[in-house]
């Protein structure tokens, strides 16, 4: 299964490098990659290589974040966006740009993290219900927090010309014009989140057996949950800071991952990385092709690919009321 996922990711990478809102020849692209001097293709690749790398990284980060949230909450609806992470990060960056003079660009990236953490905390506190396993209060709290933050972001953007330019970026995620520098600034958060996630996989397997069993195995359940949620928040916030809010990748990919490799988190994690990267690259390729000669924001495409997963999960009765 992992091999198949690697092949899919490789295919998506080639597609992402060769397909665009303007058509380019795959053979010429490969020749240019191997050192042939073709000024036009070199320019195209100079834009598409960072776009592909950042897209794959962001997709992997969102997928791992979704996987962590879904196993901690034992609920197939866990998703960074549904818990307010992405809107929190957006609101935080817009605030930094509007009030603290952080000009758009690289300095905004670290600003996303505190907002994401605050938003998740608010959602968890708002949606807390003693002795209930229902996910509805959490989802509802996430929707409430996202609605208020979304209104705030829109208000800031429409009243402040200096934030106005980045309007689309902070309402719908997009990979257009993304550069390697963006990736370097979020890399520390990504590495920290990834390491934490990897360290938690064994404990998450134990927690999945149930709280009593996990405690019996010597796992501190509350700490594992906290660490996994922290890792998920870091990963999702870094991804949002880099490219803007992208919905439903974190929801859809873990479903595919579980179908492919089962419940062992040590296999789920690498699988989520591969499939998350492949899904976002595929969505980005679609975003470039659908509306030729213009480009769509990749966040629009993922909403359309991912939301049906949510609907299907509900229809199949995976949601406990």
């Amino acid at each position: 299964m992992v091999g198949a996922a690697v092949v899919v990711l490789a295919l998506m990478t080639v597609a992402s490098l060769s397909l665009g809102s303007r058509e380019t020849d795959i053979a010429r692209m490969l020749a240019t990659l191997t050192g042939d001097e073709d000024p036009f293709m070199q320019q195209v690749l100079a834009a598409r290589v960072p776009r592909t790398v950042v897209g794959a990284t962001v997709g992997a980060a969102l997928a791992v974040a979704g996987m962590l949230i879904q196993s901690v909450m034992r609920n197939p609806l866990g998703e960074p966006g549904l818990l307010g992470v992405t809107m929190g990060a957006s609101a935080s960056v817009v605030t930094a740009t509007a009030f603290f003079g952080v000009s758009s660009g690289l300095a905004t990236v670290p600003a996303a993290i505190p907002g994401a953490v605050l938003a998740v905390t608010a959602v968890l506190l708002l949606g807390r219900q003693s002795g209930s396993t229902s996910v509805i209060p959490l989802v509802l709290a996430g929707a409430v927090v996202s609605a208020v933050l979304g209104a705030y972001v829109q208000a800031m953007i429409l009243t402040r010309p200096e934030v106005f330019d980045s309007y689309r970026h902070w309402m719908v995620g997009s990979l257009a014009g993304v550069r390697f520098e963006t990736l370097w600034t979020v890399l520390p958060a990504l590495i920290l989140g990834a390491v934490l996630a990897w360290a938690m996989t064994g404990s998450l397997n134990a927690v999945a057996l149930g709280e009593e069993v996990a405690t019996g195995l010597g796992v501190r359940v509350q700490w594992v949950r906290l660490a996994a949620l922290t890792a998920a928040t870091l990963l999702a916030a870094a991804a949002t800071a880099a490219v803007g809010p992208i919905a439903f990748v974190g929801l859809a990919v873990p479903h595919l991952v579980r179908a492919a490799v089962g419940t062992d988190h040590r296999w789920q994690l690498p699988m989520a990385v591969l499939l998350g990267a492949a899904l976002l690259l595929g969505a980005d390729v679609a975003a470039r092709i659908i509306a030729r000669p213009q480009e769509l924001m990749v966040g629009v495409v993922t909403a359309f690919v991912g939301a049906p997963f949510l609907l299907a999960a509900v229809r199949r009765g995976r949601v406990r009321g």
């Binding site: 209060p137 989802v139 409430v144 309007y167 509306a291 769509l296 359309f304 509900v314």
Partner: protein, 358 residues
């Protein structure tokens, strides 16, 4: 029945089903149940709305003073005042009132038939679906069909997807809420897509299509929502008696001759049409349909859908939000939907923390 109300045969046959209800008889055929408390609240809200409306018209550099307003109503105003009233602020306030009434009614109908305080057009993505329909019909295929038709189609598709995805209609609140979030996301994505392709980068227009705005309304908008209300309100009134019975449960409703299934379908169709009418003139203004019936029920303390009060409350919410959007420092010039989304979101959060946590 409580102990204090003895069921004696001497009581008149018009014994109210609920305490505090009076029956108004008009002629032979029409009987209307009413509650003194509800009537008082409706009157108070109407007065409040009148004050806010006059304030909306009077405030700011282009404002019309109450004195000029009275003159204009008598047809004696000067040209500037007439222009402001007929072209600028008049249509805007009338659209706000009409859309508010429609949203309040739509919310009350939906919450009544789903028996779910959250089963409102906002939560199930109906407003967003109607917004997407408006965007498609005005930007993508201009001239193929008018915006209100697009709104109805979009709203209908959104409701259909939710109904199908839950696998059990609107019976389970939890499933309705979660599928609603998915449908909301997809509808918003459609709007983004259409606006991105059609308008390129005019963010203000995008905001109007996404969150709802009352800027630059004209008499055509007033006509659309006015005709919509004139046609739909009588139908809602005809349905209202059966809705009251629905509150007692499907079985009781069937026994009393109110076909539960039919009533529910008719109420949902009416709600879709009302919400679509509102969205086609004001955009997908968030949370009015959710909060208006809720506030109405708290004010009247009466069971049932509280349709009249919900309509008036909806209008009051939209008028006051629009007054804020026009005049409040820091908000001035923003689309009204941003104000309602923020305020409604906070109200929903308050409900979540203080009322629904058990």
């Amino acid at each position: 029945m409580t102990k204090g109300v003895p069921m004696t045969p001497e009581r008149p046959t018009t014994t109210p089903a609920h305490p505090g209800v009076r029956i108004l008889r008009v002629g032979e055929r029409l009987t209307l149940p009413w509650r003194p408390r509800t009537v008082v609240v409706v009157v108070v809200l109407l007065v409040l709305m009148g004050i806010l409306a006059v304030l909306t018209l009077a405030w700011g550099p282009m404002g019309t003073s109450p004195h000029d307003l009275a003159a204009a109503l008598r047809g004696e105003a000067d040209a500037t005042t007439t222009f402001v009233l007929e072209r600028l602020r008049g249509p805007r306030i009338l659209t706000a009132i009409g859309a508010g009434i429609a949203l309040g009614l739509a919310g009350a109908l939906f919450q009544s038939v789903t028996r779910n305080p959250l089963g409102s057009p906002d939560v199930i993505g109906l407003g967003a679906g109607a917004g997407a329909g408006v965007a498609v019909s005005t930007l993508w295929w201009p001239g193929v069909f008018p915006a209100p038709v697009g709104a109805v189609i979009g709203a209908g598709v959104a409701v259909g997807i939710v109904w199908w995805s839950t696998g059990m209609g609107f019976g389970s609140p939890a499933r309705v809420i979660i599928t609603g979030i998915g449908v909301f996301a997809m509808a918003t994505a459609v709007t983004h897509y259409v606006v991105a392709v059609a308008l390129r980068d005019s963010a203000h227009d995008l905001a109007a299509y996404l969150v709802g705005s009352l800027g630059t309304r004209n008499m055509q908008h007033v006509a659309i929502i006015g005709v919509g209300l004139v046609v739909l309100i009588p139908l809602v009134v005809m349905l209202s008696r059966r809705l009251l019975v629905m509150d007692l449960g499907d079985d009781v409703a069937e026994t009393l001759g109110a076909g539960a299934r039919t009533t529910r379908t008719q109420a949902i169709i009416l709600a879709v049409l009302l919400a679509a009418a509102a969205v086609s003139v004001a955009g997908p203004v968030a949370f009015v349909a959710l909060t208006a019936p809720h506030i109405a029920r708290k004010l009247s303390r009466a069971p049932g859908p509280n349709l009249t009060l919900a309509a008036v409350t909806g209008a009051l919410i939209l008028v006051s939000a629009d007054l804020l959007a026009q005049q409040a420092p820091g908000l001035a010039g923003l689309p009204v939907g941003i104000v309602t989304a923020a305020a409604g979101g906070v109200y929903l959060g308050y409900l979540l923390v203080l009322e629904w946590r058990r």
